[in-house]
């Protein structure tokens, strides 16, 4: 036997209460990880945005469009290696097989020169250039829409009226896990030439530029915006990451609220743990008095209590980590990717989130035990001996 034997045996003195407390910590860790996973997954596109790309949109709002000739003027700015553009189409699946996906009308001549994290073969690109209504899809979207290369695809839009018919000419390959595999790309000229898109005629939604690796993106952005400063349609240029975040728009407040909720969960966990430990200490005050009487110093009593709190929280944290791995990374994550790829391209709990959760459980376990431990270790021996359950 050693001192840890006593601390360990104490763990299951009130088996039901300890198990319930461990479950509470487990649930707290699980919720914390789920919320953090959601936030990480939501921000994944922005977090992994290419550092060598900047985006230019209308200064007033992403929903306002820019004249087409802006792209030619943008390409003249020193430091811009390549530039392309896109319009938001507001694509919808009339059969509602996919709840949400991105449909973009893009410049077929330059899109893949700039968006190099989406790959297509030369044959696919050639076919696209020869097919005005050609569309290139992500593999997840193609599977959901039940189409393959050569298929006819009809979708609708919440911006432009009627049915829009496309011919699938290829499937793009993402080079990173966080690249959306749920996007539909079709030719901007197909949209521009359609009378139903008269509102967008000769206008583009936003421009994306690839810049030299050594370029100062902030200075370049300022130069671009200065170029259009005196026009009716002024621009706002930003890093691709900032652009991706601006898409989240008002949702950032919800994400921020989620961050606070995840911290609140940890506080609740600490209070539950502190309550359990306080009850245990209260029940054992007399016993601690006996230990003090036979010579155990206050530090040992402190260690027994904090150690017990740490063991409970760590047990809950580790069980929670295992459940996170099984539930999120092996069940929910693949399901989300297959069914909600438009929103979550990569729904997995990163190792650092699990480590933070388990670490926080351990640290808060110690914190939860601190006050009962200090009080118990400072109690006079004679007072402790007089205290009965």
């Amino acid at each position: 036997m050693n001192l840890a034997t006593y601390a360990r045996r104490n763990l299951f003195r009130r088996r039901g209460r300890t198990i319930l407390t461990i479950i509470a910590v487990t649930v707290a860790v699980l919720i914390f990880c789920a919320i953090r996973t959601f936030i990480v997954a939501w921000n994944a596109g922005a977090d992994e945005a290419a550092a060598d790309r900047i985006a230019t949109r209308h200064k007033v709002s992403i929903t306002m469009q820019l004249p087409r000739h802006y792209i030619d003027e943008l390409r003249e700015v020193p430091g811009i290696q390549a530039a392309t553009w896109a319009n938001w189409f507001g694509a919808k699946d009339p059969k509602e097989r996919v709840p949400f996906f991105a449909g973009l009308a893009v410049d077929h001549n330059t899109w893949f020169d700039v968006q190099q994290d989406m790959k297509v073969s030369a044959d696919v690109l050639a076919a696209w250039k020869q097919t005005p209504n050609g569309a290139i899809l992500g593999d997840v979207l193609a599977r959901a829409l039940e189409v393959q290369v050569g298929s006819r695809l009809v979708i609708t839009s919440d911006i432009y009226p009627g049915d829009w018919e496309f011919k699938v000419v290829g499937i793009y390959t993402p080079v990173r896990k966080t690249v959306d595999r749920n996007t539909l790309l079709f030719r901007w000229d197909y949209l521009n030439n359609d009378p139903r898109a008269v509102y967008s005629k000769e206008h583009l939604g936003w421009m994306v530029s690839r810049i030299a690796g050594s370029a100062d993106s902030a200075a370049l952005s300022r130069r671009i915006d200065a170029k259009f400063e005196s026009r009716d349609d002024q621009t706002m240029t930003m890093s691709e990451r900032a652009f991706a975040l601006s898409f989240l728009g008002g949702f950032s407040a919800v994400l921020s609220a989620f961050q606070w909720v995840s911290l609140g969960i940890l506080v609740i966990m600490t209070l539950i743990l502190a309550n359990t430990i306080a009850m245990s200490v209260r029940e054992r005050t007399h016993e601690y008095g006996v230990l003090r009487a036979i010579g155990f110093p206050p530090g040992h009593i402190f260690g027994f209590i904090v150690g017990e709190s740490l063991l409970v929280s760590l047990a809950g944290g580790l069980v929670g980590a295992v459940i996170v791995e099984l539930l999120i990374n092996h069940a929910l994550g693949p399901f989300m990717q297959d069914n909600m790829a438009g929103v979550f391209q990569h729904f997995f709990t990163p190792g650092w989130v699990v480590a933070v959760a388990v670490g926080a459980a351990a640290v808060l376990g110690v914190v939860a035990g601190l006050i009962p431990a200090v009080l118990a270790s400072r109690l006079k021996v004679t007072d402790a001996l007089r205290r009965l359950d």
Partner: protein
């Protein structure tokens, strides 16, 4: 276990006063008390409830400090020791026997007896030897792997006595050691304490309400209203 002949005073209390406060009202529990306990004696302290018996026992055992006066036990002036030093001193000098046994319910008899030894530098093997010796003295070596709930009250108290003697203390203080026991078990415990005193020459200072228990001691003292009669 070390042995030695009864000798000079092992406990010397001089001018002990102990005052508690209920709100602002002082309660004088011990007043100008002097006490001399020779080494190797078996003393019983009797007195009505509230007379200060347990307070006196606590002061001798280094669990409490007097308001004034000097306490010299086993050659140490306890009033000069810090709380940490007192804890260490208690672990080496005093064996405690409580009325309600106070065994740790999640530990076996052997583990309960081993507890005081965890504060020493003894190896696990040496601790085991000490534990078996202590349990053999109290006649419970065959119950060493039993938990307190699996023992009778008398056996629990004998395990508590084994825990009190396992680190070979000079003094055993016992607070109503037979208070929770039936007559037969009480007799067994008192016989055991008598043996510890006579054979191992442990100084025993016992607080009791029970006159028949007090009769087993070699010296009986009475405490009333904070003063020894």
């Amino acid at each position: 276990m070390s042995q030695g002949e009864p000798s000079a005073s092992i406990v010397t209390l001089s001018g002990i006063n102990k005052t508690f406060y209920r709100g602002k009202e002082p309660i004088h529990v011990l007043e100008n008390l002097d006490l001399d306990v020779p080494g190797g004696s078996f003393e019983a302290l009797m007195g009505p409830s509230g007379s200060g018996k347990s307070t006196l026992l606590n002061i001798i055992a280094g669990l409490d400090r007097p308001t004034s006066g000097t306490v010299r036990v086993a050659g140490e002036d306890l009033t000069k020791l810090s709380d940490g030093q007192l804890a260490k001193w208690r672990s080496q000098t005093i064996g405690f026997v409580f009325q309600s046994f106070n065994l740790i319910p999640v530990l076996t008899a052997a583990q309960n007896v081993e507890l005081p030894l965890l504060l020493t530098s003894l190896s696990a093997a040496d601790r085991k030897t000490h534990v078996e010796t202590a349990l053999r003295i109290v006649g419970l070596v065959d119950r060493m792997h039993h938990y307190p709930r699996q023992l009778s009250g008398g056996q629990e108290q004998r395990v508590a006595i084994a825990r009190a003697i396992v680190n070979d203390p000079k003094i055993i203080v016992a607070d109503e050691p037979t208070g929770d026991l039936d007559r037969k078990s009480a007799d067994d415990v008192l016989t055991l304490m008598d043996r510890l005193n006579k054979e191992l020459h442990k100084t025993i200072f016992m607080v009791t309400h029970d006159p028949s228990a007090a009769e087993r001691a070699s010296v009986q003292r009475k405490l009333d209203k904070g003063a020894l009669q």
